[in-house]
Symmetry: C2
């Protein structure tokens, strides 16, 4: 089972690709605490905090990098539900928009945590869109809260 999303970002797919691969940009839309390097076989480490405390995170192995076209990560550490799942980003230019097709693939259990992550991904995609279009994202720990779970 997959989480699917689509956003259109008023920008070039080159710029969106940079925002998915440069550490400083990932830190500016997903989470301030982003470590590692985006290169094939490398790992990116994303950590999240709330109320001043670290509350967990994800390690992503970078599987595929096609500039302005596609990024693919595999989750190698994090919540049990995420381990082994893949996150793919497909980009294509349509006029003034870069269209982002997002897939968080291969969930084993469509439980409440998957519901939560689906909504939270949408919120972070809006943060990515805002970063690229305006220079200002809403990364953790200043991210938009969607409920009792962070």
């Amino acid at each position: 089972m997959d989480i699917l999303h689509r956003v259109g970002i008023k920008s070039s797919s080159d710029e969106v690709y940079k925002a998915l691969t440069a550490r400083e940009a990932l830190a500016a839309w997903w989470t301030h605490d982003t470590q590692g390097e985006s290169k094939i076989g490398g790992a990116l480490k994303f950590r999240f905090s709330a109320d001043g405390k670290e509350i967990g995170g994800f390690d992503m192995k970078v599987i595929e990098l096609q500039p302005a076209r596609r990024v693919l990560w595999q989750v190698v550490d994090g919540p049990e539900e995420w381990i082994g799942t893949k996150i793919s980003w497909e980009l294509r230019q349509e006029g003034e928009y870069s269209i982002v097709l997002f897939k968080h693939q291969d969930w084993r259990d469509p439980g409440e945590f998957m519901h939560h992550c689906s909504t939270k991904w949408a919120v972070f995609l809006m943060s990515l869109k805002s970063l690229v279009e305006t220079g200002q994202g809403a990364p953790s720990p200043g991210d938009v809260r969607i409920g009792d779970w962070h």
Copy 2:
């Protein structure tokens, strides 16, 4: 295939249930142009516009109504991809939050339109949350734009 979301709304599930069943409330978080009545076997008609023009909408048959617990709609008219799909809202109280589990069930094609609708549902769920918590939603036509498609 299903679109799944979860939000926590600081409110009672009675209030959230009202926001999913009262026409005035539906008009205040989803779309201003909401017609019909929320009763078993009845139909709710949601219409959307952009740039002053009607761009389509959905007719939902109301299948199930359990106050403060559950609402179930079936799409009887609208885009071909939506017809026959079901939209279920499950509510439960957890302390100060009403937890909303949202499912848009039985999509036949996980194509680009499903990706778009998944993101757009998240945006409207945040509008629902905002309406219940603050009295102010962001319904169509003043909804948050997520790209080139409305």
